[in-house]
Symmetry: C2
Subunit: 202 residues, 2 copies
Amino acid sequence: MPRARLTPASVTEAAAALVDEVGFDNLSMGLLAERLGIKTPSLYKHVSSQADLAHRVAILALHEAGDAIRDAIQGRSGSDALAAGARAMRAYVREHPGRYAAANAVRPAGPDDPLIPASERVLASWAAMLSGYGLDPGQEIHAMRTLRSVLHGFATLEAAGGFQIDASVDESFTWLVSFLDQGFRAGTTVGAVGPAAGETGH
Amino acid sequence: MPRARLTPASVTEAAAALVDEVGFDNLSMGLLAERLGIKTPSLYKHVSSQADLAHRVAILALHEAGDAIRDAIQGRSGSDALAAGARAMRAYVREHPGRYAAANAVRPAGPDDPLIPASERVLASWAAMLSGYGLDPGQEIHAMRTLRSVLHGFATLEAAGGFQIDASVDESFTWLVSFLDQGFRAGTTVGAVGPAAGETGH
DNA sequence: AGCTTAAAGCTAATCGCATTAGCTGACCCT
DNA sequence: AGGGTCAGCTAATGCGATTAGCTTTAAGCT
């Protein structure tokens, strides 16, 4: 065999680091090759395309984020688990905005795409955390989606610089987590709120 | 003067329609030109670049969404206003996913970018709605950010096909709105929750 | 009606970036 | 020492955005 300096995994790592620096949208094969000290076409010896590369970065990100969230939740329960998990996720996105963007930009390529178990692992951690609140089983899915929506939305808006006012974003995040905690502890009842349903259909 | 068939505004409208069909990422000058029955370079007589085009679509989207939300909130207050506003926003994103993506992809180009007042108008509607809950003034900013995070996160995840399980997404949205409503009505107290702060810095 | 002229559109050309084709050299194994 | 395999290279292709420069249309004026 010839020299094995680079591997798909090491290329993916380098791409992940690059994407966190320059932003997912600015990822280019040329830039990555330059970082690795090789010429652009040589990259194709390790990944099959830029889409494949992004896909690998997404899987890496989901694994890392999944580990971070699992570890944060580990050994805690209820409010503690929620706060620790949420903080871990926010921290991950702040430290790795490009990887997180990659994870959001990519769609599973098929039924046996490793992306699927990787994201399921993340969801499983959230589910384990939520189970500590002893919610009504019929509401768990809604609580899960609400949780995902808030955390994803907050992380995305923060990464995009969407929070302009000078008020502390850290404080808002703490408030948000507390808000969720109180809601989950209260065991929100279903029941529609507001005027008769309109344009959302259903 | 010559024929004035197309204008920057009409080109932007066409781009908005196109982007809702094919997705923001698949917008291309060639595709848009084809839709308009002209050749690609002719587009540059109306918009200065693809980035400029995306920027115009984003402004259009913010105006439309802002109107929709304002109209929905109009004449309601409290839970009704929240539910109507949230539904209006979700409906807008579902009907115009490409425009919404454009609005999120674009950053203001300067201090007098028309994008800024357009997004402020949206924020103002949410603020007006929230004021009906009579929250502690110090908490309003946090409630606002929480609200934006959830709605943005939900809309984004839904548009990305992120809600896989067969449980009704409509029902989850109703639950989410109710969850917010109860939290706002309870006037969440600040106070950190969970273990001592860790990696989020602060 | 005819002339002027600015703008709308077109063709041809450039540029950057992803990707492919085909060659070469290094390294491991026998 | 000899061979096979693979990493990396150079050269070439192709597509999409953008620019340059020409042509044509049609509104407004006389």
